[in-house]
């Protein structure tokens, strides 16, 4: 049936076979993913090549960047020296504040038993097809990284949430960023303590949506309010900054508000991340 008169294979028959195989693979893959995030992954060869090229790209770029930066570093050094003398004056008051802080924590019964250690990692690759938003980092199981771990980053003075680990290889891992529409985080408005569910929109601006915020809270929420992780029934630690309220939408027919959030971490500009080793 699938053969030409001259004995060759029909392209249409082959197309159907390949499409069926692809669809079955998608079905199994989606089913497996629904049971758990893909966890440990053994695509060693292709991930190994990706890691090698990713690091090589950084090395080449760093080499050219270093030459360019020498002049800038000299200027920064001069400024830093000036600032250092200024900060020496602050040191004494910081020590005093720290002692006071420790004392207050003791009085409040603060539990310091849960400690999170962060592993620094570098982003080595992004999604190759412009269709998905994955990020690949250069740390894996050999560095103690586990699937589901929280990924944070430092940018513009904020230590904010970037995403979570979804697949782990031996020496590299894949991150699902916060802006991905499949990513949900239990969020909390820092000032008013109102809770909601934050999810990615996958749009060009990398905006997020906070839903299930009760309508009665509209008076308590302001544009620019900070949104942090609530830690409520979530794998994320409490208090990690997610973003700022950009827009508050209240629809007449809806029972809850919808907030547009601008994330504090711009995924496209991040180079280094921190992976939490403690998975709750």
């Amino acid at each position: 049936m699938g053969e030409h008169k001259n004995g060759g294979t029909r392209p249409e028959a082959l197309l159907i076979i390949f499409l069926i195989v692809s669809i079955l693979t998608v079905v199994f893959s989606v089913a497996l993913r629904e049971r758990s995030e893909r966890g440990e992954w053994n695509g060693r060869i292709i991930w190994g090549v990706q890691r090698f090229i990713g690091k090589l790209t950084y090395q080449v770029r760093d080499l050219f960047g270093t030459i360019k930066r020498l002049g800038e570093i000299r200027q920064q050094y001069e400024i830093a020296l000036d600032k250092l003398s200024e900060y020496q004056g602050f040191e004494r008051s910081v020590i005093e504040l720290r002692r006071e802080n420790e004392e207050l924590k003791r009085q409040l019964g603060y539990s310091g038993s849960i400690e999170y250690s962060n592993t620094p990692a570098r982003i080595i690759a992004r999604d190759p097809s412009n269709l998905f938003s994955s990020i690949t980092i250069d740390k894996g199981t050999s560095d103690g990284i586990k699937a589901g771990a929280t990924v944070t980053a430092f940018q513009d003075g904020f230590f904010g949430l970037l995403g979570k680990i979804v697949r782990v290889g031996k020496k590299s891992s894949q991150v699902r960023p916060l802006i991905d529409p499949d990513h949900y985080v239990a969020g909390l408005l820092q000032k008013s303590r109102i809770q909601g569910l934050v999810e990615g929109l996958g749009n060009e601006d990398g905006e997020l949506k906070m839903s299930y915020v009760h309508k009665s809270a509209v008076e308590l929420i302001n544009v620019n309010d900070l949104v942090v992780t609530s830690g409520f029934k979530s794998l994320y630690q409490r208090g990690i900054v997610i973003g700022r309220v950009k827009e508050i939408r209240s629809r007449e027919y809806a029972t809850s508000l919808e907030l547009t959030i601008s994330p504090v971490i711009n995924v496209t500009r991040v180079e280094y991340v921190f992976v939490s080793k403690n998975v709750q």
């Binding site: 294979t9 392209p11 499409l19 090229i53 080595i124 269709l131 998905f132 802006i179």
Partner: protein
């Protein structure tokens, strides 16, 4: 022929990795041309739909392993592109620049339309996929600009390999 299909597929896979590692750092908008897809289209247009389908499946699967996509997602899209590009083979005798631009435009559209359909059927959320938004148009434009260059480069390699083979047979 089999070796040519395998070598071209490996080349396309290599460019897929290059896109994810190097190109993603060079392009500020985070949307870059799909060179792997362009190489696949070139192969299919040169040697027909069957090599296009084989290569599309291999390249698609390798992209699936380094992407957040479920396994088989890109394989489906690239098999379809390989087949359809192979069907355009008869137009190759026309102006190469024009043919390359038309073929790549169609391939990019097939990629996005089939991605939307697959995500709809399987309930997938496509991360940075913007349904024919400005950045999708950027990718299309980048593909169109690069298409004649890729076609010319890959066809030159195929020509020299084919000529060398003819000499060896003679």
């Amino acid at each position: 022929m089999t070796i040519r299909v395998l070598v071209t597929s490996f080349l396309a896979c290599g460019f897929a990795i290059f896109q994810s590692t190097t190109l993603s750092k060079l392009v500020p908008s985070n949307v870059f041309p799909d060179i792997a897809m362009m190489i696949l289209v070139t192969l299919a247009m040169r040697y027909g739909p069957i090599p296009g389908e084989f290569s599309g499946f291999l390249v698609g699967l390798s992209i699936d392993t380094i992407s957040l996509a479920p396994l088989g997602f890109h394989a489906f899209i690239f098999v379809l592109i390989g087949y359809l590009s192979g069907k355009l083979r008869s137009y190759l005798s026309s102006n190469l620049i024009l043919v390359s631009i038309v073929a790549i435009t169609l391939a990019t559209l097939v990629k996005y339309v089939s991605a939307i359909l697959l995500s709809f059927f399987f309930g997938l959320n496509l991360g940075l996929m913007r349904y024919f938004s400005l950045l999708t148009i950027w990718e299309l434009l980048a593909n169109i600009v690069l298409a004649p260059l890729i076609f010319f480069a890959i066809f030159s390699i195929y020509d020299s390999v084919d000529r060398h083979k003819e000499h060896t047979i003679e």
